[in-house]
């Protein structure tokens, strides 16, 4: 069985890509429920994350079956999820100021 991306637990809404992905590429994603196909909307570098569903701004991003932060902008299925659209829910200075 081969796949280009993997989730780490049931309920994950992002997958880690196991090889560099080009825009428009169909990505086979391993999930606990079986392998699913997602079309990449943009390039995703090795080990970076791809959205498995449309995520509205403020959605909890789930990896390892756990919340790793929330989206700061809407992300469409197949989009690249990284620091430009995801941030921590922890250790933020009062008022959510960022440096």
């Amino acid at each position: 069985m081969n796949w280009q991306a993997t989730t780490l637990a049931a309920g994950d809404n992002v997958a880690t890509v196991l090889q560099p992905i080009a825009a428009g590429e169909t990505v086979a994603v391993w999930t606990a429920a079986g392998v699913i196909a997602i079309t990449a909307l943009e390039p995703v570098a090795l080990c970076h994350k791809i959205a498995l569903a449309d995520l509205a701004a403020g959605t909890a991003v789930i990896k390892y079956g756990q919340c790793i932060g929330q989206t700061t902008a809407p992300v469409r299925q197949g989009g690249w999820v990284h620091v430009h659209n995801l941030r921590s829910r922890r250790a933020q200075a009062a008022g959510g100021q960022t440096t």
Partner: protein, 387 residues
């Protein structure tokens, strides 16, 4: 485990070393360069130094003393030459190390007419004699339960949480099941995963200690005006695909396996008993590894994503990565290549069995890349301002 035992050095006080180092231990900043000069004159001797001295106060001074003494008392050290600028600290450190019944000698700059060259000459003769005597020691079979592992990750990427850390966790679980000891620190990298750690706490007190330790670090970050994003994960982590501290932590804690957590110890504190412990300590690799080794870890399992050349000088440090690009590039840095798991050519269980075999082999004397290339250093954290 493929073999129930490894070959180690049984010390006079009963503890077991996986190496038999002669250590030149400089306990004052003034004598560091002399310690390094003696080390160069006696190839194979290890050197630990500190840049600090009499200005340290309170808990900071206590930690320096405890950790430097612990490096000397470490099971991987067969004999120690302690050098320092003036008697009280040297005498204290020597008295503590002498409790292990291993050979320990002292040289003090005050007794050498404040002449570093005199100290060098006397120290070189002592270290040379110690090397000869230490080489008479022979390894004997010892049970796995006498192994004490420290776990560390540095320059991690998403492959660390996917492959390398779970592999280490599997080895740690097998060791704990056999009655051994293990510890990992990097408190800030429990943040976002603390609920998974507290769920494994052996008692409510331990769970509270874990929560309190994480909260303290989180508050430190906030008080410093830090947005953790950009500090931890750092730029290298982020470029490699990590995003938030939560994501990094959830991957990082996998290196601790699934065993119950017996307690939370301070930097350089010995473990109260067998089992898995957490160390409340900084995350930066030299400080983190220094604390684990000072607590008595004989061997360090160090996972990395993109590569990290730092190792302990006293405890052989096995470098493990599952990143296929890094493992192809860093052939003389990474001791264990887990990229076959990343590339779906091998199962995690098969790779864990191979890693367990390597751990026992290194514990029995096989050299790591870090040892061959002499990358090692052992340092102590600072806790506050000096006078």
């Amino acid at each position: 485990m493929t073999s129930p035992a490894f070959d180690g050095f049984r010390r006079p006080d009963g503890v077991v070393g996986v190496r038999n180092h002669v250590l030149i231990l400089s306990v004052t900043g003034l004598t560091g360069p002399t310690a390094r000069r003696i080390g160069r004159a006696v190839p194979g001797a290890r050197v630990v130094t500190t840049p600090y001295g009499s200005g340290l106060v309170g808990a900071d001074a206590a930690l320096q003393r405890r950790a430097l003494t612990a490096f000397g008392a470490h099971p991987n050290v067969g004999a120690v030459l302690v050098i320092g600028a003036s008697p009280p600290l040297v005498d204290e450190v020597v008295a503590s190390i002498a409790l292990t019944a291993k050979p320990v000698e002292a040289l003090i700059l005050d007794d050498c007419d404040h002449d570093a060259l005199t100290l060098t000459e006397r120290g070189t003769r002592i270290a040379a004699r110690m090397m000869r005597e230490a080489s008479r020691a022979r390894r004997v079979p010892v049970p796995l339960a006498e192994l004490f592992l420290g776990m560390e990750c540095g320059r991690s990427d998403p492959s660390s949480g996917l492959v390398a850390n779970p592999l280490v966790g599997a080895v740690v679980d097998a060791l704990i099941d056999a009655g051994g000891r293990a510890v990992f620190g990097e408190t800030i990298e429990w943040l976002g995963a603390e609920h998974l750690l507290t769920a494994r706490a052996a008692s409510p007190e331990v769970a509270r200690a874990i929560e309190a330790a994480v909260l303290r670090r989180e508050r430190n970050a906030i008080d410093a005006g830090l947005d953790l994003l950009g500090n931890n994960p750092g730029p290298t982590n982020i470029a490699a695909g990590l995003t938030t501290i939560e994501e990094k932590s959830l991957g990082a804690i996998a290196k601790g396996g699934r065993s119950p957590i017996r307690g939370v110890v301070g930097i350089a504190d010995p473990l109260p008993g067998p089992g898995l412990y957490l160390m409340d300590a900084p995350a930066y690799a030299p400080e983190s590894v220094g604390g684990l080794v000072a607590s008595g870890a004989q061997l360090v399992l160090f996972t990395t994503g993109v590569g990290n050349s730092f190792v302990s000088g006293l405890a052989p440090t096995i470098k493990i990565s599952g990143n296929p690009v890094a493992t192809r590039r860093l052939r003389e840095q990474l001791d264990f290549d887990a990229s076959d798991v990343f590339e779906r050519r091998a199962s995690l269980a098969d790779a864990a069995a191979r890693l367990q075999a390597l751990v026992l082999e290194v514990a029995s004397g096989t050299l790591t890349w870090g040892e061959i290339l002499d990358e090692g250093e052992d340092v102590v954290s600072r806790l506050g301002p000096a006078l």
